[in-house]
């Protein structure tokens, strides 16, 4: 029964993924990314993880892709030029690493062919996720937040250094 929902969601996710790298306009890429994220949210729902599904929409679709769009619009609004490839031979590297990743994924899914037990009662609810985060895995959770903080502070420091030629300092 869940195939009715899973297959369209999976097809949409793959189509969106192709769209992200195939689209010529950066804004179209961002919208394709949105399609991927929305289809992933649907698959989370199928796995009985409602809380994660909604968070996926709020955080990724609602905040992160909006920021992407902001940057795209402010930086290359309609400049028409394609992205410059800075890394030498990055296409070759991309193909190699992508196939390695695909192999790892396939190996993982083949290894996990045994039928899964149905989700236990209360799985995927906000209470369940909250308990996992704040009780069971408290230390990794706090460490992750410290790492994120480091990233934010680093960004502020980089920006604070300012432009080299000094006009317009406030």
């Amino acid at each position: 029964m869940e195939w009715v929902i899973f297959v369209p969601a999976a097809v949409l996710a793959i189509a969106g993924g192709v769209g992200v790298i195939a689209a010529r306009q950066p804004v179209h890429s961002a919208i394709a990314l949105l399609v991927v994220l929305a289809s992933l949210a649907v698959t989370y729902l199928l796995l009985a993880a409602q809380f994660i599904a909604v968070l996926q929409v709020i955080i990724y679709a609602g905040a992160i892709v909006v920021l992407f769009l902001f940057v795209i619009m402010l930086l290359h609004a309609r400049s028409g030029e394609g992205p410059v490839e800075k890394l030498p031979r990055q296409r070759v590297a991309a193909v190699v690493f992508a196939s390695l990743f695909l192999a790892a994924l396939l190996a993982g899914s083949v290894a996990a062919t045994r039928p899964l037990a149905p989700a236990p009662e209360g799985f995927g609810t906000a209470q369940h996720v909250g308990e996992a985060l704040f009780v069971t895995y408290l230390l990794p959770f706090e460490l992750a937040s410290v790492i994120l903080m480091v990233g934010i502070i680093a960004a502020v420091v980089v920006v604070k250094r300012g432009p080299p030629a000094g006009r317009g300092g406030r």
Binding site: I58, G62, V66, F70, T125, A126
Partner: protein
């Protein structure tokens, strides 16, 4: 299985029709009330008291020439108003307008779905609504539209945070993310009494989220013509318009649900109370628009980030401490 889907479908259609009718009359209400505030009459010629005005407007908008700027990004130009409207209508799936009632011998619940993450779904839908604004402004390839959409999305993202913090304090007080449970938790005491700061935060955030005066910068006529929907006309403009006014109804309904006890109230049956409270808030929205001047953009952002967000965080901490002391 089939009956469940059928009942949900019938309820959805009824609700969408109701919300769209509500939208039509919200525009009339706004025009009439604004006129009275300015000592004018407002539209009163189409039908008795101007009651047919919204339909006249609708017919006019549908039959207008469908115009599109030559350099617009076609796909996104069409997609943006649809996103705006659908995101605005979607939230009604989880907002309850009444308890379960007996209807021809069958028990019918006056909500489509009692989702256990209901309030998050509402926030998620409103964050999707931002895309209508951003993409609409960008795709029409007009500098005023682009400036309007950048302003507007910055505003929406900032004030979403204030709203989210107010909602967190309500969720902490009620102990549930489901809107039905939140209403039931207010049976004895409305949350406006327990969460006055949260209520204020939410209300100010709601004004900004719906782009209403004094926060209607995205369409500041003097600077930006009409903001993100400058290049839109006809039915596509109407879809943005639906999104905007349905947003006002949604926000009024949410204030009612989260802070004013939802369907609880003496004498009248539940849905009537929801209607009365929501209507009162919509009038308040319009009253504020008629009264307050527009703030500047930098003032708006500073107010959001330096006043509302810290206040919201403090409120959450205070609520959490009190809930832990009382409940734990």
């Amino acid at each position: 299985m089939i009956t469940v889907v059928l009942v949900a479908a019938v309820k959805s259609v009824a609700l969408v029709v109701m919300v769209l009718l509500g939208f039509a009359y919200a525009t009339l209400l706004e025009r009439r009330l604004l006129a009275r505030f300015q000592l004018r009459y407002g539209p009163n010629r189409t039908g008795p008291f101007g009651l047919l005005q919204p339909f006249a407007d609708g017919i006019k908008l549908i039959f207008k020439e469908s115009f599109m700027p030559a350099t617009a990004d076609r796909l996104i130009y069409w997609l943006a108003p649809a996103i705006s409207m659908v995101a605005a209508l979607f939230v009604y799936a989880v907002i309850p307008i009444g308890p379960e009632i007996r209807f021809f011998g069958a028990t019918v619940s006056l909500y489509i779905a009692d989702v256990n993450v209901g309030i998050l779904l509402v926030l998620g839908a409103s964050s999707i609504g931002v895309y209508g604004v951003i993409l609409g402004g960008w795709s029409s390839n007009n500098k005023y539209a682009l400036l309007g959409c950048l302003r507007s999305s910055a505003q929406l993202i900032s004030y979403e945070l204030a709203i989210g913090l107010a909602v967190v304090s309500v969720v902490l007080t009620a102990g549930s993310l489901s809107l039905v449970d939140i209403v039931n938790a207010q049976q004895r005491l409305w949350f406006v009494a327990l969460q006055p700061v949260g209520f204020l935060l939410f209300f100010i955030g709601a004004l900004a989220e719906t782009n209403r005066a004094p926060f209607d910068l995205p369409e500041a006529e003097q600077e930006l013509i009409a903001g993100f929907h400058t290049e839109y006309g006809g039915f596509k403009f109407a879809m943005f318009y639906v999104g905007e006014y349905v947003g006002i109804i949604t926000m009024s309904l949410l204030v009612t649900t989260l802070f004013l006890g939802g369907w609880h109230g003496p004498l009248l049956p539940g849905p009537h109370w929801v209607a009365v409270k929501t209507f009162a808030f919509m009038c308040l929205f319009i009253w504020i628009r008629a009264t307050m001047p527009r703030v500047r953009h930098d003032q708006l952002m500073a107010f959001g980030w330096k006043v509302l967000v810290p206040l919201g965080l403090l409120n959450v901490v205070a609520t959490a401490v009190i809930v832990a002391l009382v409940g734990g």
